[in-house]
């Protein structure tokens, strides 16, 4: 065995944990003594400053999230206590005389006018769309009026469950809409001083850069402002939930006159009812898995899993008893029938489901 092979062998033993504590210490000492690589240094001072700022921002963001979680926990404890009191009063007053099957709703289905992606004009006229469309083409095809209709968002694109849609706006901005989402925007968006869209649901944006005409996404009571960048927004009006995750560029998140600047790899999660904002880092692949046709659950509460499932399959979800802390982790394809999906989820979580038309019951 030559020295090169010997070195690799030692490194393998080290990686595999086959070295004793003393050997490990010695090897690490040697690695520091004979460091690897050409002597590394900053390319220039801006390289160094950028790195300094980047790490610092992430430390602060994490640190704030931790503090936030502690506060949220107290709030949750209070709400649980309140819920328990309510539950017992309810139980005492109504259930004792004759227990009947009562369900509470975890997630509510929506009513869509079509099971296809549709474009709805201000006068109510609807047009079916395929998987992808460019608004410029639509305008010429449908002969949309060129006259300005003011700042209000007068064009609606509605994507029902189990569908995904990619829209290219006239300014070149690309929007991927997840199933169960609607996007509203002005018919002459590209002429406005600020490009504004209204989102209820989930969308991934690749905004065409235009510093003079900033791009704003409104949703769930919050606002996301950008010039040119890539980011994902989940804005669920009914859940008072807005999650903004930045992939590239700079994004400013605003809620109640407070603004939060995001750096790539960070996301802001806001509860627009409780007025609570926290930020953390995220995994881009996991976040954007919906675009590739997967649900990726990273140890999240069953309640949140069922909300996502409700949006995608457009079903209501009900449960007999509150779902206790049940965490789900796993990757599931989205293009399977609901029953197959639920069977997989049962296998993974042990939770049983019953499909009743457009309603799914959770049976513990």
């Amino acid at each position: 065995m030559n020295k090169d092979e010997q070195l690799k062998k030692v490194l393998l033993d080290y990686a595999a944990g086959h070295l004793s504590a003393r050997e490990t210490k010695k090897l690490e000492h040697l690695i520091l003594k004979y460091p690897s690589g050409e002597s590394w240094d900053w390319k220039d001072s801006s390289h160094k400053e950028a790195m300094k700022y980047r790490i610092q921002a992430r430390i602060e963001a994490h640190n704030n999230t931790k503090a936030k979680i502690r506060r949220i926990n107290i709030r949750i404890a209070v709400s649980i206590a309140a819920a328990l009191v309510c539950f017992f009063i309810f139980f005492y007053l109504y259930l004792i005389p004759g227990p009947t099957d009562t369900f509470y709703t975890v997630a509510q289905s929506k009513s869509y006018s079509s099971d296809k992606v549709v474009l709805i004009l201000p006068d109510g006229k609807q047009f079916q769309l395929k998987d992808t469309a460019s608004f410029a083409h639509l305008r010429s095809e449908l002969g949309l009026q060129m006259k300005s209709l003011g700042l209000e968002n007068n064009i609606t694109v509605s994507v029902p469950g189990q569908k995904q849609f990619k829209l290219t706006l006239e300014d070149g901005t690309k929007v991927w809409l997840n199933g169960g989402s609607t996007l509203k925007f002005s018919s002459d968006l590209y002429k406005q001083t600020a490009r504004e869209v209204l989102l209820d649901g989930e969308a991934y944006f690749e905004v065409a850069s235009d510093k003079i005409h900033p791009f704003h996404v409104f949703g769930g009571g919050a606002e996301v402002k950008v010039t040119g960048t890539k980011f994902n927004v989940q804005a669920f009006e009914s859940d008072h939930f807005v999650r903004t995750s930045l992939v590239e560029g700079i994004v400013t998140f605003r809620m109640d006159h407070k603004t939060y600047k995001l750096s790539p790899g960070m996301e802001v999660i806001a509860d627009t009812e409780q007025k609570d904002v926290s930020s953390q880092s995220f995994d881009i692949d996991k976040l954007l898995s919906w675009k590739a046709g997967y649900f990726v659950f990273d140890n999240i509460e069953l309640v949140d899993v069922m909300k996502a499932v409700s949006r995608w399959y457009n079903i209501s979800v009900v449960a007999k008893s509150p779902i206790k802390n049940k965490k789900i982790g796993g990757t599931f394809p989205k293009n399977v029938p609901l029953i197959d999906f639920l069977n997989d989820l049962t296998l993974l979580s042990g939770v049983e489901f019953k499909i009743n038309g457009k309603e799914v019951q959770i049976i513990n």
Binding site: L7, A16, Y34, G37, M51, Q56
Partner: protein, 192 residues
């Protein structure tokens, strides 16, 4: 190495000024992590995690004698942990092996270390029973004199004496086979 740093006088500054610490140490910490990991993103992750761990330990800070040493030891441990995980992969292993400057000095020193280490292990096996037990607790279990004394229900003094005798015995044996000069360099490293 207990130079006074910002928080070494922790009694005065109960409130840990993390941003001052960050400004003071981030760069040298980052460079140290780069030496181990050769990857800016990974080095940045480790620096971030190190400061977060420090924050987590905030309450215990008065007990940490040197925040600087704490940062560097923590960082180094995290970086080596990361490195180990990468080295499992064949491609990364080849890459790192090719990157070590003076790779041959590294491996030569390693071989000498291993030979001596094996020799010492053999000699430990030949020590009288009680002495062997104490010596192994110190060397392998890395227990302190007082911990060993407590465990075996003997005095600290006895432990100290037994270990020093064991060292003398081993040194005598090993000296025959190895040049004392080499030993001077390596033995402290090897025995502790």
């Amino acid at each position: 190495m207990r130079r006074s740093t910002i928080v070494d006088n922790a009694k005065e500054t109960v409130e840990l000024d993390i941003s001052a610490l960050y400004h003071q140490y981030w760069e040298s910490l980052f460079k140290q992590m780069m030496r181990i990991l050769l990857d800016e993103d990974e080095a940045a992750d480790v620096v971030q995690q190190t400061f977060l761990d420090l924050l987590e330990m905030k309450e215990k800070i008065p007990e940490i004698k040197s925040v600087k040493s704490f940062l560097f030891i923590m960082g180094r441990n995290l970086a080596f942990k990361k490195l180990r995980r990468k080295l499992v992969n064949d491609t990364y292993r080849d890459f790192y092996a090719s990157q070590y400057k003076e790779a041959s000095s590294l491996i030569e020193e390693w071989i000498v270390f291993k030979e001596l280490d094996d020799l010492i292990e053999k000699e430990i096996g030949k020590l009288p029973n009680k002495m062997k037990e104490i010596f192994i607790l110190s060397r392998h279990a890395e227990m302190s004199y007082s911990e060993i004394a407590k465990k075996l229900n003997i005095s600290d003094k006895t432990v100290k004496k037994q270990i020093s005798n064991a060292l003398k015995l081993i040194r005598l044996k090993v000296d025959k086979d190895y040049q004392p000069l080499l030993l001077a360099i390596l033995l402290t490293d090897l025995l502790f």
